[in-house]
């Protein structure tokens, strides 16, 4: 109940904000009868109505994971974001090995297996991507190769 009420409220608020920013869209002199604002406003309105419907008629709560699992998920998200930033400057091999190992550990907490999975995936995928598929990937950090 509570989850859906919160979800409905969030959807409604975002939809209203979306409508508000859609009204700010600049129109140009080549305007057609509908213009660039109408359709986004329409979408926002439908979403807002549906949000209110969900607040009024919520489904049962899903089974949210316990706090420790949520922690593991948060760690995974942080690691993936860090990986996104690291991929270019640090090359493929090292960030991939670290990220894959951490994700593997989050799914099955076994340090040795996770480390092996990380190193194996990093090397194996690098060989496939670089040599079989011919993608332009850099294996090592850019400050080492230049």
């Amino acid at each position: 109940m509570a989850s859906d009420r919160i979800f409905g409220a969030v959807v409604t608020l975002i939809a209203l904000a979306y409508i508000a920013s859609a009204t700010q869209i600049q129109t140009s002199f080549m305007a057609d009868p509908v213009g660039p604002k109408t359709f986004p406003i329409l979408i926002g309105a439908v979403a807002a109505i549906c949000g209110i419907v969900i607040i009024l008629k919520p489904d049962e709560d899903p089974a949210w994971p316990e706090l420790r699992t949520l922690g593991a998920l948060a760690v995974a998200v942080v690691v993936l974001v860090a990986y996104a930033y690291a991929l270019k400057p640090l090359g493929f091999l090292i960030p991939t090995a670290v990220t894959a190992a951490i994700l593997s550990y989050q799914i099955h907490p076994n340090t040795k297996q996770a480390a092996l999975a990380g190193i194996g995936l990093s090397l194996g995928l690098f060989i496939i991507f670089k040599f079989a598929l011919g993608l332009s990937l850099f294996g090592l950090p850019s400050f080492l190769t230049h």
Partner: protein, 501 residues
């Protein structure tokens, strides 16, 4: 006889050694993807699109490769359904109902062979149906103006929300999220940026591939972290594989009926493969009656959903190719592939680029035979793949997703967006909000708005123009019924729940 000459063009392309090799390779990869628990046709095809794109194949080759993967994944999905009780995606759920009990009774091999043959029958008949129906529908599609297209897009969202989800409001929200995201970026008509918040990265809009890979593949990784890969280990051993001729012959009528039901469900825009396997299973169950023993592990219970599922997969290609409206999650992903390759689906595709359409159809026919050969005698090889543990597989999927998206643009911003979509996908699926309408919204949003605006230009702003033709009114009516009717039918059409050990 036009059909035969068209097919000749198609086979000319499909039987060239390189294309044939791609088709066989695609079937193999596809079956593996389908068999891997946690990778279904949608996310499997999704993570491969960016890679195919960066391999620099021409349009026809890329299309042949990916549709072979698509068909292969539909075949492979039954392996994890039957042996592990884990459906690779929504349509495969019905196969677990009888497949898993059969496997537990020591008849895993029989179930795999029967479902393999059923898949072949369904997919083969659907490909024939596609061949006959698609050119006809393409002729009808020439009559479609912007008002009809707008109604058609609406119909796709309405049936997808109405039939394929549990809560209409949530499905509508999902569609709105997708459509809302599609609006971001520079407006084609006025050339002005919209809803970018001044962020330069957003001026080009959000790439649909980023959203698809995030929502399908990255979200799946989060689900596995949540469950700690627990529901992957239990499984049934496969002893020896023989061909149960008697049962295959006995369920041949079931296969034929289910193929027809599945194909029709697949052709409906937005409804797709889940509805196909669901309807064919339920109708066969009621034909067989109480004595049929559906749900306890009978051959027909495996044959019906697999034939229906694969026929729907073929049927879903009809609206996708002729009208540009996908019929299921996976065909939405295939539509994304076409758009990446700069092929605009629609009636003109059949006249302007016949080599693409007929090459594709011929490859599908070939792929089907290859898949039957791979999936009946060689099924043991694919069964081995099930033993890949989740703690290797899911990190691997993540890395492939990252490299694929990174190779598209080389920008960290797309990767961040992808992670964001992954988180969004996890939260939404937790709340029972379907994610397929989001994809459909992102893919079709631009076209839908365009249709509306062109219709208004034609009519000089008169809104009644949207209901000015018989086709348009018909589409609007079906859209409303498709969205509203399931609210009342839901009591009678409850989906069978997954069986638990």
């Amino acid at each position: 006889m036009e059909l035969l000459s068209n097919l000749a063009i198609g086979f000319d392309i499909a039987l060239s050694p390189f294309t044939l090799m791609l088709a066989v390779f695609g079937c193999f990869i596809g079956t593996i993807i389908g068999a891997l628990p946690g990778l279904g046709p949608s996310n499997g095809v999704a993570i491969l699109i960016p890679l195919t794109f960066s391999m620099g194949l021409d349009a026809t080759s890329a299309l042949v490769l990916m549709t072979a993967v698509y068909y292969g994944a539909m075949y492979g999905g039954r392996i994890s359904s039957i042996l592990l009780n884990i459906p690779g995606d929504e349509p495969a759920l019905m196969t677990t109902l009888d497949g898993y009990p059969m496997a537990k009774a020591g008849r895993a091999g029989d179930a795999l062979v029967i479902s393999g043959v059923a898949s072949f029958v369904g997919a083969f008949l659907a490909t024939i149906g596609l061949m006959l129906l698609a050119p006809m529908l393409a002729q009808v599609a020439f009559l479609f103006g912007p008002a009809e297209y707008f109604a058609l897009y609406l119909l796709a969202f309405a049936t997808l929300g109405g039939l394929a989800s549990n809560n209409q409001a949530k499905a509508a929200i999902a569609s709105c999220i997708g459509l809302g995201i599609a609006m971001i970026g520079v407006d084609n008509n006025s050339g002005m940026p919209r809803l970018t918040g001044g962020n330069l990265h957003l001026f080009d809009g959000i790439d649909f591939l980023v959203a698809i890979v995030g929502l399908f593949a990255i979200a799946e990784v989060f689900f596995f972290i949540e469950s700690h890969g627990k529901n992957t280990s239990i499984g049934v051993k496969l002893e020896k594989v023989t061909v149960p001729v008697k049962e295959i012959v006995g369920s041949s009528v079931t296969m034929l009926r289910s193929s027809v039901v599945g194909f029709i469900a697949g052709v409906l825009p937005g409804a797709g493969a889940s509805l196909g396997s669901f309807l064919s299973y339920m109708s066969e169950k009621s034909i067989a009656g109480e004595k049929g023993g559906f749900g306890t592990g009978v051959a027909k219970g495996v044959a019906a959903p697999e034939a229906g599922n694969n026929a729907a997969a073929g049927g879903a290609l009809v609206p996708m190719l002729t009208l540009g409206v996908p019929g299921s999650g996976t065909t939405a992903v295939l539509l994304a592939l076409l758009m990446t390759l700069n092929i605009t689906p629609g009636p003109t595709l059949f006249t302007e680029r016949p080599e693409v359409v007929w090459g594709l159809i011929a490859s599908l026919l070939i792929a089907n035979f290859v898949l039957l050969l791979m999936n009946v005698p060689m099924v043991k090889i694919f069964v081995k793949i099930l033993s890949v543990p989740a703690w290797v597989l899911l990190p691997g999927v993540t890395m492939v997703s990252f490299v694929g998206i990174y190779s598209l643009s080389g920008s960290y911003f797309d990767l961040l967006l992808m992670v964001l979509f992954g988180v969004l996908g996890w939260v939404l699926r937790k709340l029972d909000v379907p994610t397929v309408p989001i994809i459909l919204g992102i893919l079709l949003g631009g076209h839908m708005e365009d249709a509306l605006r062109r219709a208004m230009v034609l009519s000089d702003g008169d809104w009644t123009y949207l209901f000015s033709s018989g086709i348009a009114i018909g589409l609007w009516a079906v859209a409303v019924v498709g969205f509203v009717a399931p609210m009342f039918l839901r009591r009678f059409l409850t989906k069978p729940q997954r069986i638990t050990d």
